[in-house]
Amino acid sequence: MPTNNKKIYDKGMVVIGLALFVVLVTFPFWYNLGKAAPAPEVVLTERAKAAKECVRETAYMKAEHMQLLDVWRDTVVRDAKRTYVNPEGKAYMMSLSNTCLDCHENKADFCDKCHDYASVRPYCWDCHIDNPKETE
């Protein structure tokens, strides 16, 4: 029986190849090192600032606005109920274009910035008109 020979054939090429592989695979990490985009700051319109409070408190809106809007659309379309009364007892019409974007008319700064940053692409705007006051 031949002895167990642990020689690597073409050692030089293999090592170069391995090194090249590691460099290529990790390329996106070190190339983008330190270049992370800063988390976007939400820009409020004057009206939104003046109103101080959205339909719910800010923390809730930040975390749950998608669930809120989902409930809104089902309630409006399927249950024919269009008024939302928040825990403080204030009533709002449930409408993305006519209520949300009435205050937050800066969709590009308010919605899109964060959505782009988080790489989410809601298809709301395929149908819902993005800014009711655009041409007024």
Binding site: A80, T83, V85, C127, N131, P132
Partner: protein, 262 residues
């Protein structure tokens, strides 16, 4: 510890009592405490108009030519952002006019009065009481709402067009193309549709919710009457008892809610 049958039964009895009392105590504490945070609620607008089954009566004698219907069609299509396509195969319509033989096939007797046969008829979704489109829809995107309106939930429509095949009135249109570039003037209060969904008349559900009559009824100057079919006091019922009316393809059993005085 020596266990006996007596001891086991005693323990089991106490345990059963404990488990049984839990819901009672829970209820008692919940009712007494009242510390739960108030929840958000949803409700209907107080001014909303409701009905068991909305219905429409169209007095076709009031429409002598297509030009008389133009303002009604225009009113509807403008507020609902209905696009206008030159290509007939892409056409989207919520309310439109058609000839007698297409509105009422099977009712074309020989020697009909000239004005009945030659008149144009206003047609739209019939908001059937037994709607075949609703049964055909695989995603429940189209459904009969609590006011009897056959309505579309565009969010759920997958564009299979089964409803279009099922509808005997051709009341549904499919968005083969993105409709936005073909809307002359967009009503910013109402959404448009996207490519790949079916659309049709919604009996102005969004206007009824605000206490307004449908746009076509408002523009019709009394030629269209709208109301609750199941309310004996409603204007629709009055008109129905005073006039002989017909419905489109009644023999199919879909029970249309749009009636025609001819």
């Amino acid at each position: 510890m020596k266990s006996s049958r007596r001891r086991f039964l005693k323990l089991a009895g106490i345990a059963a009592l404990g488990i049984g009392s839990r819901p009672v105590l829970d209820a008692a504490f919940a009712a007494g405490g009242g510390g739960a945070a108030p929840e958000a609620k949803v409700r209907r607008q107080p001014e909303a108009l409701t009905a068991k089954q909305w219905a429409m009566v169209i007095d076709t004698r009031r429409f002598e030519s297509a030009a008389d219907m133009e303002p009604l069609i225009e009113a509807c299509h403008a507020i609902h952002n209905v696009p206008h396509f030159e290509n007939k195969r892409h056409e989207i319509k919520w309310i439109w006019e058609t000839e007698y033989q297409h509105a009422f096939p099977g009712k074309e007797n020989d020697y009909l009065p000239y004005e009945v046969k030659e008149r144009q008829y206003l047609v739209l979704c019939n908001h059937c009481e037994n709607p075949p489109c609703v049964r055909a829809c695989p995603t429940k995107a189209t459904f009969k709402n609590e006011n009897g309106i056959v309505i579309m939930d565009f969010h759920r429509c997958i564009g299979c067009r089964f409803c279009m095949a099922a509808c005997p009135f051709g009341a549904r249109s499919f968005n083969f193309r993105d409709p936005r570039p073909f809307i002359a003037e967009t009503n910013k209060k109402f959404p448009t549709r996207a490519k790949g969904v079916v659309e049709k008349c919604n009996f102005c559900a969004e206007r009824l919710a605000e206490g307004k009559m449908p746009a076509c009824v408002e523009a019709s100057d009394g030629a269209l009457v709208f109301g609750d079919l199941y309310d004996p006091q409603s204007e629709v019922r009055q008109v129905l008892t005073e006039n002989y009316t017909i419905r489109r393809k009644q023999e199919l059993g879909t029970s249309p809610a749009v009636y025609y005085i001819v």
